[in-house]
């Protein structure tokens, strides 16, 4: 198909070229079709042949690889496949086992590219883009055992196709050339006459020469055409002559008429333009007015409404035109009051107004209330008037609606403003008055003013009354001030004055007067305020009295007092403060707080700390503090600081200082005495321990003594002398021992006697050895006791880590002799075994003391089942060592005094054992407590210590 533009070009070609082109095109297309069919058939044949060849090849190879596949011998199969290289068209081949896995492959182009072996497919052949694939199942003994793929490229197919295309192209060019030559020669037979006729027609058209004629050469359709053409030219020549005549006449008539019309048109256009301008002006005026405008005809139908009116009624303009008020009532209702009745009332009013105007021609004014589109109330001033025609006849009515809402609102606001002013004016406790100067009648006065001045409200216009009410002493001054005001020297004055009361008393008031001059009319207004300050005046007097009392108090106290505001500035101080701090009075009175602080600081032992404290307290206005200041010269002040508050809010700080130098000295002396006493008590305690030790040693020495006597007795009573006797007997019979042993009756007994003696001597030796062993043990015991005492006699005061149980055991051991001696059964009740870090000596001293006390208590009770329990318990990082006895107990009255110095119930007691014990416990960071259910019911003393490390404070 030719494109449209080519087609257009083709139409414009001369006939001879068209004929040539058509001929060549037809022959070309026929040739192309024939060649195409042949080529397609040839190609299809070739594809079939190729597929068949490849199929045969695949079958052969399927047989050849069967054994390799059966025996899983890829090498053999690949060797077989490699023989495919003989056929260069085969691009690749492979063998699949029964599972579809490739077990052998051949790739023609393995060196360059990799053949993409596909997965196994069912048997058959597939033409792909670039190759032909043939799948064959490998059968062996009637059983499928795998498959083979042989792929061939299609290059030969493509080469053949290309060769065909080239041949067809060359054939087409040759044939077309031959066809063109033939057509060019033969077309002239048809195109020749037509070309000539066209040339004649062109001559007629260009030269308007209807006299020429075409020459007829053939008798076919072209010949007939030339005859018709010539006949047409003849008729045109005749018609032309007639037309020429008619046209000349017509032209003249048309020209005249045209000129007339142009004149008329110009006139009318001018008039219309003027009218339009005036209408546009009127319309724009009416539209731009922020007022509603409407116009009605004789029958009361709207003939015009402006857009403002339309907006007001929320009704489009065209809804009004041609309708009466009643007809638009429904519409109007939406813009006005809400209910139906009111709407119809409006309509009725509108109709009545219109009728009245039509009848009388009078102008009506009224005020109406509408709602604007937002639902707010708007007030309208409505003017309705008649419309006259040029003859003065009433032809309708018109109306203008002016929005006066703002005016209304302003009026209402003014009224409210006035009411507010009136209320404040009357209610305010400050006296107020206003007048125009020179016109007393204009004066207004409020109730407060009347009350303060004592002049009744209704007589406020009698100015002289106010002067009369003024205290005589203040009159002259006020007259003077007022004169200056009147003279225009100033526009205001203030004064405090007194007003007299009928009972002769007076009250203080602060008067303030100001004038305002109106520049335009020259009038002067005078406004005065009057405040009752009587109360304030009296308070001030009271305050002065209080202050004097305060000052007297300040000066009579022994403490130094200083009051500073929140910024540290001195506000109040007393002489004592100046004296104590040695600050010159002049500096204090000057209020130079930095200098005061500097003088004070310089005297202190630790100025920076003091400075910090002062700064800290000023930073926390609500904090209280109490501390002691030490001076470089040894003085000591107690400092107490407290915020100064007004209505609970801190406004400053009161500093109170007391000289405690003397008191401190006394306390220090007391402390010294106490320490000396403590030392004495400790030495006494040690003496007691020593006594205990000596007692123990004495006990053992007793045993040593007994052992020694026993040994001496044993040796003295020894049978050793019997041996001597035997020796003598044997010596007598030295010369005839044989006869002695055989015949002498004594000699016969010698052997038996020797046996008995040997037994005796052996017993003796054993007894002696036993006693010597006992003696040795006792001596060892003494050594132990002395060693233990030595270990406790070491310098104390060093905290060491020690198991509580060991401490308790040591204490018990030091009392062991006494406990045994007094037959007291000891029970150990160790519920915990904590470790403490303490001064071992101090703890031991306390425990030995407690055990000894318990022993005495049991002894005194005189009971048989004397028992003592030593208990160790731990709880919340505290260890409690309790010594419980079932002795005499403690009366409740004594329980409170038991730790006091010098208190004792024992005949030989010192009265400081428990006292020093309690002190030592305190020094250890612990406590010593006593408990008893009463006399005869035993007692419990408990030493409580912290398990955490505690260092002795002494």
């Amino acid at each position: 198909m030719m494109p449209r533009s080519a087609m257009r070009h083709f139409r414009e070609f001369p006939i001879r070229r068209k004929l040539t082109l058509i001929t060549v095109a037809i022959s070309g297309v026929a040739l192309l079709l024939a060649c195409g069919v042949f080529a397609w058939q040839e190609q299809a044949n070739f594809r079939r042949t190729m597929a068949r060849d490849l199929g045969v090849l695949a079958n052969i190879f399927a047989d050849n690889v069967a054994s390799g596949l059966a025996f899983n011998d890829p090498a053999s199969m690949e060797q077989t496949l490699r023989t495919l290289a003989a056929n260069p068209r085969i691009t690749g081949a492979c063998v699949y086992d029964s599972g579809g896995t490739i077990v052998a492959r051949y790739d023609r182009d393995a060196a360059r590219t990799r053949f993409a072996f596909p997965g196994r497919e069912p048997d058959g052949q597939r033409f792909l883009n670039d190759r032909l694939e043939t799948f064959r199942t490998v059968m062996l003994a009637g059983e499928p055992i795998g498959a083979i793929l042989v792929a061939s490229d299609l290059s030969e197919l493509h080469e053949r196709a290309w060769r065909y295309l080239t041949n067809v192209g060359m054939l087409l060019v040759g044939c077309s050339l031959a066809a063109w030559l033939l057509a060019w020669r033969l077309q002239k037979i048809i195109s020749g006459p037509i070309v000539r006729l066209a040339e004649t027609a062109a001559l007629v058209a260009v030269g308007r020469n209807y006299a020429v004629r075409a020459v007829k050469t053939t008798h076919d359709e072209v010949g007939a055409l030339i005859d018709g053409f010539n006949e047409m030219l003849t008729q045109i020549q005749v018609r032309d002559a007639e037309l020429e005549a008619a046209r000349d006449q017509l032209e003249r008539r048309v020209e005249e008429r045209t000129r007339e019309l142009e004149r008329e048109n110009a006139d009318r256009r001018r008039a219309e333009s003027a009218l339009r301008e005036s209408q546009a002006l009127y319309h724009s005026l009416v539209e731009q007015m922020s007022a509603g405008v409407f116009c009605k005809d004789r029958e009361g139908r709207y003939i015009f409404v402006n857009s403002w009116f339309s907006r007001l009624t929320r009704t489009p303009v065209e809804q009004f035109i041609g309708r009466t008020g009643a007809e638009t009532a429904e519409i109007q209702r939406r813009g006005r009051a809400t209910d139906e009745a009111e709407a119809s009332q409006f309509a009725a009013d509108a109709a009545r107004d219109h009728d009245l105007i039509m009848r009388t021609g009078q102008r009506l004014e009224s005020q109406e209330r509408y709602f604007d589109p937002e639902g707010r109330v708007i007030h309208l001033h409505v003017v309705k008037s008649p419309v006259f025609d040029p003859d003065g006849t009433i032809v309708g009515s018109q109306g203008v609606l002016l929005d006066i809402t703002e005016l209304k609102r302003a009026q209402d606001e003014a009224a409210r403003e006035h009411a507010r002013f009136k209320f404040i004016f009357d209610a305010v406790p400050v006296g107020l008055t206003w007048m125009k100067v020179g016109a007393p009648d204009t004066r207004i006065v409020n109730a407060a003013f009347a009350h303060i001045t004592g002049v009744p409200l209704e007589r406020c216009r009698e100015l002289e009354l106010f002067r009369a009410a003024t205290h005589p002493e203040d009159q002259a001054r006020q007259d003077m001030l007022h004169a200056r005001l009147s003279a225009g020297e100033t526009d205001h004055y203030e004064c405090e004055k007194r007003y007299l009361r009928p009972d002769g008393s007076y009250c203080w008031a602060a008067l303030s007067v100001r004038v305002f001059r109106d520049v335009e009319d020259g009038s002067i207004e005078e406004i005065a305020t009057l405040v009752d300050i009587d109360e304030r005046r009296r308070s001030e007097a009271k305050l002065a009295h209080s202050l004097s009392v305060l000052h007297a108090t300040l000066e009579s106290t022994v403490d130094g007092i200083l009051v500073a505001d929140l910024h540290g500035r001195v506000t109040v101080f007393n002489r004592k403060f100046a004296e104590m701090w040695r600050v010159p009075l002049a500096v204090l009175e000057e209020g130079n707080d930095e200098k005061v602080l500097a003088i004070g600081t310089a005297q202190l032992k630790n100025p920076p700390a003091f400075f910090e404290k002062v700064k800290h307290l000023y930073a926390q206005p609500d904090a209280e503090s109490f501390d002691v200041l030490e001076f470089a010269d040894g003085r000591m002040f107690e400092r107490y600081s407290q915020p100064q508050r007004i209505d609970g809010v801190s406004v400053g700080r009161v500093w109170c200082f007391r000289d405690i130098t003397e008191r401190r000295r006394a306390e220090a002396e007391l402390e010294l005495t106490h320490r000396q006493l403590l030392l004495a008590s400790r030495q006494a305690g040690m003496a007691e321990v020593a006594t205990g030790v000596l007692h123990n040693v004495g006990n053992v020495l007793n045993s040593v003594n007994v052992s020694t006597i026993l040994i001496a007795d044993l040796v003295r009573l020894s049978k050793i002398d019997r041996v001597a006797k035997l020796r003598d007997l044997l010596a007598q019979h030295r010369h005839a021992l044989g006869a002695f042993f055989d015949s002498d009756p004594r000699g016969k007994q010698v052997i038996g006697y020797l046996e008995t003696l040997a037994g005796h001597l052996e017993n003796e030796r054993n007894d002696t050895l036993r006693e010597i062993e006992s003696l040795r043990k006792n001596v060892e015991h003494i050594k132990d006791i002395v060693a233990m005492q030595q270990s406790y006699a070491k310098v104390s005061g060093v905290a060491e880590k020690i198991a509580v149980a060991d401490l308790v055991e040591d204490a018990i051991r030091m009392n062991a002799g006494a406990l045994t001696r007094h037959d007291i059964s000891l029970v150990r009740d160790y519920r915990a075994r904590p470790t403490v870090t303490v001064d071992k000596h101090k703890v031991l001293q306390i425990l030995v003391n407690l055990i000894r006390n318990a022993k005495y208590a049991c002894d005194e009770a005189g009971r048989i089942d004397k028992q003592m329990i030593v208990r160790v318990a731990a709880e919340n990082s505290r260890v409690r060592i309790s010594v419980v006895d079932n002795g005499v107990g403690i009366p409740e009255a004594n329980l409170a005094r038991i730790f006091q110095h010098g208190f004792t119930t024992r005949k030989h007691g010192h009265g400081f054992g428990l006292h020093s014990g309690a002190l030592a416990a305190k020094e250890l960071g612990g406590a010593l407590t006593a408990h008893s259910d009463g006399p005869g019911r035993g007692a419990t003393f408990t030493l409580e210590l912290g398990i955490e490390s505690h260092t002795s404070t002494s």
């Binding site: 069967a66 054994s67 059966a70 025996f71 053999s76 003994a141 009637g142 059983e143």
Partner: protein, 166 residues
Amino acid sequence: LAALAGSGSLHAEISREYQLKAAFLFNFTKFVEWPARRFADERSPILIGVVGENPIGAALADLVTGRLVNGRPIAVAYPKNTGEMQRVHLLFVARGEEDRLTELQSSGTTVVLTVGESDRFAELGGMINFVVADEKVRFEVNLATAEKHGIKISAQLVKLAARVRR
């Protein structure tokens, strides 16, 4: 425990080797042609005999069940004497049973494809002998003996042989 595991894997090794050999035996039947007189008709079974204590019999029985070779079913037999050995078409002589081959050979002309798995078997004139090289099971073919007994071994099979005696 380690020793046990080792022996287990050794056992598996043997099984795999014999499974492979069983498959070979089965496949041999496809490439070997016996004289027609050895079969009663077109559908007579091919008998495979196994002599010697060997797992190959069980593996083979599993393999041939329900399968046909050129329309013939396969049956596995365990010949106990020379007579029975002569009846089978293919005789597998396990290692250590080579004397049985001698027995068969001395019993006269027999058309039995003999398959063994030892050098001695090959030396005694067995037709196909399994050899294991590089952990792969291969086989040697003695074409001369086979042809002498009228058994045709396909060239396809021969070309896979590791060694061929002619």
